[in-house]
């Protein structure tokens, strides 16, 4: 029996010729990630356990993105702790206000992940880097600590679900709609403990940013990781970002999958995930009139330049409805700068949006756009759990940048064709 992409990468990192689903292995890590919420817990554990050194200063990255710029004294104290640790151990890839971006937009942009890597991150959306053909998964702070100290960790080898991608997205349908459609189909635990493997002739029609968005939300289906087959799009993206050599792992022709689905991109329609689970995916033939109070365009799911271009395409020459606060958050400094050069920020500001420095902020109800009781938001973020963006009686509707921008203009949940 052959191996899946994920199984091949894990076998290579465990020094084994072959692994099979369910097997427990120790694997070497290429990168260990933490943010300003999870790293302090890892540092406390590191000190408590009496470790005195890290495994490799170039293979640990700390990204101060959640409650930054520091939202309060406690958040400032947590960042200070991370900064001091990074300084003490001379950690190369430490990112703080001024050069920071949202971790899962920043690391690919900086070329820190290449195909075939094994990456753990103390952030559940670490699965994003599967877009690059890497094995990448979210873990907790103790795992991060062990990873920092030992450069390795334990994994249970996952089985996989295969998604055969065919066709091409229609205008105003986006990668976000594809992944919401998939989560709606298989449920929030539909891929529990397993890999989601994306391949097929339709991949060539998905940009790297599309893939990053889709892999990002693999965790919302419970998956251990999402992973895309490496192709010319991947290789083109990596050019100029890294000079690291990488190995491309392809699934064996006889690899075993628990389930297989074909996703025809040409059938994907604008989709909205209703409160309070990402699996509550609906298309516009099944959405009543819902007045909204806020729109958030950003996050590790949809804060990249193509997302901002999509939002700007809708918002250009229009005004955000008077009942709506629209917040746009470019995910990295580089994206911010590109958006500025392309005139996107001008479009946003002229249409009445607030534009923020990169931060996870409102996505997790941290700061920079918290909802009051009874308020509703359309967000390009990834979770719509109870209280996720603020009060427990507020509601978050997940959607693509097209739908979010159209909703901002309409003042209610709307699709692009309603306002264009």
């Amino acid at each position: 029996m052959g191996m899946t992409m994920t199984q091949k990468i894990l076998a290579a990192h465990a020094g084994l010729e072959k692994v099979k689903a369910g097997q427990l292995i120790m694997a070497d890590l290429d990168l260990v990630l933490g943010n300003d919420v999870t790293t302090p817990v890892a540092i406390n554990e590191f000190n408590k356990a009496g470790f005195t050194d890290i495994f490799n200063k170039d293979k640990i990255t700390m990204v101060m993105d959640h409650f930054t710029p520091n939202k309060d004294i406690k958040a400032a104290t947590q960042c200070k702790q991370c900064r001091e640790f990074a300084c003490k151990y001379d950690i190369t890839h430490y990112y703080d206000v001024g050069d920071v971006g949202i971790e899962h937009a920043l690391l690919p942009e900086k070329g820190l992940v290449v195909p075939g890597d094994a990456v753990i991150g103390a952030d559940s959306h670490t699965c994003t880097y599967g877009a690059l053909g890497a094995f990448s998964t979210g873990v907790g702070s103790t795992d991060m600590c062990a990873g920092m100290a030992a450069g390795k960790t334990w994994f249970k080898v996952p089985s996989a679900i295969k998604f055969n991608i065919v066709g091409k997205l229609p205008k105003y349908s986006a990668a976000k709609d594809v992944i919401l459609h998939i989560i709606g189909m298989i449920g929030v635990d539909g891929a529990l403990y397993r890999s989601m493997e994306f391949s097929g002739e339709g991949l060539k029609n998905l940009t790297m940013e599309d893939r990053l968005c889709m892999a990002n939300m693999a965790i919302e289906a419970g998956a251990k990781n999402g992973i895309f087959a490496v192709d010319e799009v991947t290789k083109e993206y990596l050019k100029g970002r890294t000079d690291r050599e990488y190995k491309v792992f392809e699934a064996d022709a006889d690899a075993e999958y628990d389930e297989e689905y074909t996703i025809d991109l040409s059938e994907i329609k604008p989709t909205v995930a209703f409160p309070h689970l990402p699996e509550n995916a609906r298309t516009f033939d099944n959405i009543p009139e819902i007045k909204i109070d806020q729109v958030v365009i950003g996050s590790c799911t949809n804060g990249r330049i193509e997302d901002l271009r999509a939002a700007a395409e809708i918002l250009k020459g229009k005004k955000v409805a008077s009942n709506v606060r629209c917040i746009v958050i470019p995910a990295t400094q580089n994206i911010y700068l590109t958006a500025m050069k392309e005139g996107l920020l001008e479009i946003f500001i002229n249409s009445g949006c607030a534009v923020s420095t990169p931060t996870c902020g409102p996505c997790l109800g941290g700061h920079m756009g918290i909802l009051a009781a009874g308020e509703k938001a359309v967000a390009t973020t990834n979770r719509n759990f109870v209280g996720r963006m603020g009060h427990t009686e507020s509601e978050v509707y997940l959607a693509s940048p097209y739908v979010a921008a159209a909703s901002a203009v309409a003042g209610k949940i709307a699709q692009p064709s309603d306002v264009m």
Binding site: A49, S124, A146, V188, G222, G365, T392
Partner: protein, 161 residues
């Protein structure tokens, strides 16, 4: 090893945002976080929970973020074991790594009700419902994980090796 206590019962897909809301994550002090544990779905949990109590939920417990603050605040609140039909994988991993006993058991997750007095034998995986006079067989851990659990968490087990 055994755990025994009164049950706090929840449903499917209890996510880490309701276990410990992100608005409190500007601290890593787990005792402080325990004061807010579960408050977005069970406002009185922190007030009612007693040391040794048991949490029972249905499918996909702990889905969402990777915050270790979730199992850690449950542990700090005094909960001695979480029983669920299934756990989200990062939560599962985190619970083992920090030494919060968890056990998967569909039967128990369905039949146990809030307020029941329940005992868990970790060696056998047998869950006894003293209130109802029933018992359920939970899934036992693979040996690899038992080593981590017996070493009282991942870091100790790494140091032992």
């Amino acid at each position: 090893m055994k755990a025994c206590g009164k049950v706090h019962k929840y449903g499917d897909n209890v996510d880490t945002d309701v276990i410990i809301p992100a608005r409190y994550l500007n601290t890593a002090n787990m005792e402080e976080l325990a004061q807010h544990c579960m408050e977005d779905i069970d406002i009185d949990f922190a007030k009612n929970v007693k040391k040794g109590d048991i949490m029972v939920a249905k499918a996909n417990f702990g889905c969402g973020s990777s915050r270790e603050h979730a199992p850690a605040s449950i542990k700090a609140s005094g909960i001695s074991c979480v029983i669920a039909k299934s756990f989200a994988r990062i939560f599962y991993r985190n619970a083992i790594n920090i030494g919060l006993p968890i056990i998967e058991c569909e039967d128990a997750a369905e039949k146990i009700e809030a307020g029941d007095e329940v005992e868990i034998d970790f060696d056998t995986g047998v869950i006894t419902n003293k209130t109802k006079g029933e018992s359920y067989q939970g899934q036992s851990f693979p040996e690899f994980l038992i080593k981590i659990i017996n070493a009282n968490g991942l870091l100790n087990s790494l140091k032992e090796n």
